[in-house]
Subunit: 210 residues, 2 copies
DNA sequence: GGTCGATATATCAATTCGATATGTGTCGTC
DNA sequence: GACGACACATATCGAATTGATATATCGACC
């Protein structure tokens, strides 16, 4: 989940964790922003699997970072190292700037393209970065989401047949939910139409096939 | 989170895990339903802390459940026991029916009343069971949610000042988000008005104070 | 007799969150 | 120029949640 967002943001600029967190907060899907407990382990995982790499920009004092070696060790070793080499490491706790690798770019594309649309948050994140897809792939994503919302609406209709048993507040909530789904569908249909129009315009001979 | 929903459902009827899961699926907040990995550990936790208790209804074959003792033991012991007493336990794997305790009812009320509204899912769950609150408490819940949505709208406005930098899809998503928040606020205001009207009607001498 | 799908409980690894610890850089202010 | 408050920055921990998987019984249908 968070992988898409991290890779998507790094595709544009190299960024360090803290900055990444702020930008993630501007995206829908995290309220109000990602926790550090998600972000840093995720970055470590992505680095371990070679999808991102550190461009260890240690600020000011020590331009060519000397402490990247201690990263492999565990906390105690790290601290001990830092304490024993206080003079060298004076001047900030190495701000780690990350960049995306070629494998990372491939993985991002693969994650965006994957056919199964799972939850609302994931769709939002994928949509936020879907400009990396081509038009046909984008259309497939939109339509998969549309099917999902349709199914949700259907399920709701089945569930609320004898809805007089429900309390007022739950009924009201369910009604609002229906309203939101209807709104989402209308919005999605506008996106789909726009995308289809763009395809027709760039490829007029296929216009009759939709 | 899941505690509110479990306690809220058990407040109406005694239920076993599987049935609980199905009813949870009818509530908004879980898509399409809770996972077993959430439900059963949560039930175990609630039982351990005395908020719910098992009324071990072992179906058909052995009406007065003889294997409640093995529950305390671990998996292997349980299986060994079951295998060695196959004849007795023939006819279903002891369906555990849970009921709410007095402590559970107190806890439910406390959870519903708590002033901090955290995320959307939690508000939905609380709303679904807020008929257990009195009108003033309910109104406080609604207003807290309202403040939260207002803050969200404000944050969005600040964030999207120079929004021409965003790609089309993200911009569209953000617009739809704004629309949804506006709709939620309008809906909430209707709920608040209705609640206030009910308070005024039942307590006319306080009508001027709002 | 066999197997499919619903009922039912339980556990596991991985992910995420909220809280917390720790340290640096930069104001303002006294 | 010393002090504290606050933004910047990385990291870890425990607990909750998810999705997958294992196990077992039941009724129905062929």
């Amino acid at each position: 989940m968070i992988d898409i967002a991290i890779l998507g943001l790094l595709e544009d600029h190299d960024l360090h964790g803290y900055e990444l967190r702020k930008r993630l907060g501007d995206l829908p899907g995290w309220r109000p922003t990602v926790s550090f407990g998600s972000l840093y382990p995720a970055l470590a995982r992505l680095e371990r699997t070679g999808l991102v790499k550190a461009v260890t920009h240690v600020t000011s004092a020590t331009p060519a970072a000397p402490m990247s070696g201690s990263l492999a060790g565990e906390l105690a070793a790290f601290r001990a190292h830092r304490r024993s080499t206080t003079k060298e490491s004076r001047g900030s706790r190495g701000k780690k700037v990350y960049g995306i690798t070629e494998e990372g770019e491939a993985r991002l594309h693969e994650l965006l393209r994957a056919p199964e649309v799972v939850d609302d948050r994931e769709f939002a994140i994928r949509l936020a970065f879907c400009h990396h897809l081509d038009r046909a792939e984008r259309l497939a994503l939109f339509r998969a989401r549309r099917d999902q919302l349709l199914a949700r609406r259907e399920q709701q209709r089945r569930g609320s047949r004898p809805d007089s048993r429900l309390n007022t507040y739950l009924r009201s909530l369910l009604e609002r939910d229906t309203e939101t789904i209807a709104g989402d569908l209308a919005w999605l249909d506008r996106l789909i139409d726009a995308e289809q129009a763009a395809i027709d315009a760039s490829d007029p001979d296929l216009g009759g096939q939709r």
